[in-house]
């Protein structure tokens, strides 16, 4: 064992050992898996992606029918996942910030009420809440045949909210491009005018230019007549409403569940962030004559943001991953669509690999974006 007394050799030896063990296990698993698959007569490879899916998906933001490909079905699921996560993150953050600030209130009733809110959400499993919200929606609203008509064309029932919708015949891409151009142009103008204002110390009218630039491209596209729209209103059939925009109860239950769950975490993070700002900041702002609300908004929150961002990143990643609980209440997200495909084709390995890969990629993307934002708000040493 003379070699093992040499630290450099030992380092190489251990690494070699670890890598070969991992490779050995992987190849053994691969061999047994392919033997098992061959025996069960299950096809391998990703050819099934271009085959006809043959499954109906109850909610889809892009055109989809059972005759479309498996790949497109997965895309529909992915879009549904992203849609519900984004909305939950947006509303959940808003509620969470309010609750977090309420938690810090000097009024004991308000702060205790907010504490109860947070504790009730954090100590009961999300899945249980999802079942509960879904059940309550089904319980409270009447069946489709007795749908409540809120306004002409707006129907509320236990299969969701149906309302009139605008359908794009053409020009959707053009409008989207014009809008994106407008946003970028407005942001550039805003940055320039802000720099001028800081340099000169005078207010300027940059925001008017920014606003004009934001709206102008879209208006121009619309005026050019390259767009045609049609109107679609829900119609009461025998068993269900067809046409129009339908917001389904599964979606609403999932959105409420994720949103409330996120808001409790955000509230705790915001509270910890505000508490991390030193008391002297409050006192200094008070001495300068700022009222409590403006102290919070202008002095404390911008500093608290630095403490808040890293844990907030984790919370957003969690809500994105938690959206996979959709399968429990039947909302067709990425996992549920993949699961259906898995049952149909039997190609479990490929399907699981695809949706795990998508989750992993998007998780990394969210982390990178939040790290970038964190670097922006971080304290810059000048």
């Amino acid at each position: 064992m003379l070699f093992l007394n040499d630290a450099r050799f030992r380092a190489v030896f251990y690494q070699f050992l670890a890598i070969s063990l991992v490779l050995l296990a992987a190849s053994a698993m691969y061999a047994t898996a392919s033997a098992n698959l061959a025996k069960q007569d299950i096809a391998t490879g990703f050819d099934f992606l271009s085959r006809q899916a043959g499954i109906a998906i109850s909610e889809s933001s892009i055109a989809y029918g059972p005759t479309d490909t498996v790949a497109r079905a997965i895309l529909v699921g992915l879009i549904n996942t992203i849609k519900v996560s984004l909305l939950a993150a947006l509303f959940g953050t808003f509620i969470g910030v309010l609750v977090g600030i309420g938690r810090m209130s000097t009024n004991p009733l308000l702060s205790r009420l907010m504490l109860a809110y947070v504790e009730l959400l954090r100590n009961v499993p999300l899945l249980l809440y999802l079942f509960l919200w879904y059940f309550l929606i089904i319980l409270v609203f009447p069946p489709v045949r007795q749908a409540i008509q809120l306004f002409p064309g707006f129907f509320l029932s236990n299969s969701g909210l149906a309302m009139p919708a605008v359908e794009w015949q053409s020009g959707f891409g053009l409008t989207f491009a014009a809008l994106a151009f407008g946003v970028v142009a407005a942001l550039v103008v805003r940055a320039v005018s802000q720099r001028r204002r800081i340099q000169s110390g005078k207010a300027n009218a940059g925001w008017i230019f920014a606003l004009v630039l934001l709206v102008l491209p879209v208006l121009a596209v619309w005026a050019s007549g390259a767009i045609s729209l049609s109107w679609s209103a829900p119609e009461a059939g025998r068993f269900r409403l067809t046409g129009g925009l339908q917001i389904r109860p599964e979606f609403v239950a999932l959105l409420i569940g994720l949103m409330l769950n996120l808001s409790a975490s955000v509230a705790e993070i915001v509270r910890a962030g505000i508490q991390a700002v030193s008391k002297g900041q409050w006192e200094a702002a008070q001495a300068l004559g700022l009222p409590r609300s403006r102290t919070l908004r202008l002095v404390v929150l911008p500093q608290a943001l630095r403490v808040i961002i890293p844990p907030l990143t984790n919370t957003y990643l969690t809500v994105f991953k938690n959206s996979s609980l959709a399968i429990a209440i039947g909302y067709p997200d990425l996992v549920m669509v993949s699961n259906t495909i898995m049952n149909q084709t039997g190609q479990a390995m490929e399907t699981i690999a695809i949706f795990m890969g998508i989750y992993l990629g998007l998780s990394v993307a969210i982390s990178l974006f939040m790290n970038w934002y964190n670097a922006r708000v971080a304290l810059k040493a000048r």
Binding site: Q15, L132, K321
Partner: protein, 364 residues
């Protein structure tokens, strides 16, 4: 905290009258604050009245499902009728004293183990050699005159506790190993550690459970089958290990590097430095965070119902679909389940805060 102890008695006498005005300013102070008090007070009263009405005033206390159908309040007979099923699932009815005893013993053992004074090697050995095997024998049977009960019959609250507790117990050493791998100076070991941790943390638990349920059998050689419960347990262990590794990494980073260097300078081997110097300090710092993680995992075990295991949430949901009670006591069932989860999670939360004070590792 120590500041309050040095306040002289004379000052307290001065402070007391001020407290009443403090009280008034806290609740009424400014007109805005008075409005907040009013709105919150009204909300609390409204909620309390609704809860009291549902739980007691309009509730049905005896009778069957017909009485519950008529009433708008809570249906208590449902709970008494289905309680045993909800707690123990399909465990043979005459044998249900066994999971009950196991549950009580387990909770008792947990309660004793929560006292920091009894922590030590002896406790660890007691859990590994006496408590856990004892509980397993009690549940599984087959020896000592106990009838054998296959794991497919296990369910309810004992299953939920088992999945989360055994999951974390096995995940802890694995997670510590992963954290050490991630902090290693050997590049290949570090990459393997980072790869595993980030892979697991980047995907939802449900996808790992699916993998365990659907894919794991494919990787097994002919004739080898693994119990469904065990597969889910392995998935939870792997999942928990990645999260534990990240928490332990935070603890490792908090230990000054001089500790490691001093240990090596004394001639200690890497493992001796880690086990005798670094890890004791690092783990002590992260114990409250680990308890918080345990709360999260206790709740996450509900996901096994999606792959068809009969955990507590699943037995409650099955009880709701009982032909006698279908559609009558749904809210009651969910509220009962929520109350049970809340009770245990909140208790562990209190314990976590106690530990934080005990070790004084609060970052606030």
């Amino acid at each position: 905290m120590s500041d309050t102890q040095v306040i002289p008695a004379a000052m307290e006498a001065v402070a007391r009258p001020a407290r009443r005005s403090e009280w008034r300013s806290a609740y009424l102070g400014t007109p805005g604050n008075a409005l907040v008090t009013l709105v919150c007070g009204a909300l609390i009263l409204l909620l309390a009245k609704a809860a009291f009405g549902w739980l007691f005033l309009n509730a049905v206390f005896d009778g069957g499902s017909d009485a519950c159908k008529q009433s708008s309040g809570a249906c208590w007979p449902f709970l008494t009728d289905k309680l045993r099923y909800m707690l123990f699932g399909f465990y043979p009815f005459e044998e249900q004293w066994r999971p009950l005893v196991a549950l009580v013993l387990f909770l008792g053992a947990c309660g004793v183990s929560m006292v920091p004074r009894v922590w030590g090697r002896g406790l660890l050995i007691a859990w590994a050699v006496v408590i856990l095997p004892g509980l397993y024998v009690l549940m599984a049977g087959g020896i000592l005159g106990l009838t054998a009960v296959p794991t497919s019959k296990w369910g309810g609250l004992p299953l939920s506790f088992m999945l989360s507790f055994v999951g974390l117990a096995f995940a802890l050493p694995l997670g510590i190993g992963l954290a050490l791998a991630r902090a290693s100076h050997l590049p290949a070991i570090r990459v393997l550690g980072i790869g595993f941790i980030e892979l697991v943390r980047g995907v939802p638990l449900i996808s790992i459970l699916f993998m365990a349920a659907v894919m794991l059998p494919l990787f097994m050689p002919d004739g080898v089958t693994i119990d469904k419960l065990l597969r889910a347990q392995v998935a939870i262990i792997l999942f928990a290990a990645a999260y534990i590794a990240e928490i332990v990494r935070g603890g490792l980073q908090d230990v000054p590097s001089g500790q490691f260097e001093a240990g090596r300078a004394l001639g200690l081997h890497y493992w001796q430095v880690m086990f005798k110097i670094i890890l004791p300090q690092a783990l002590k710092k992260v114990i409250p965070a680990l308890v918080s993680l345990f709360i999260a995992f206790f709740q996450d075990t509900t996901l096994v119902t999606i792959i068809g295991l009969l955990d507590f949430l699943d037995t409650v949901r099955t009880a709701l679909r009982d032909p006698d009670w279908q559609g009558i006591a749904v809210l009651e069932g969910y509220v009962f389940a929520a109350a049970v989860y809340f009770l245990f999670s909140a208790l562990m939360g209190v314990y976590s805060r106690f530990l934080e004070r005990h070790f004084n590792t609060s970052y606030r």
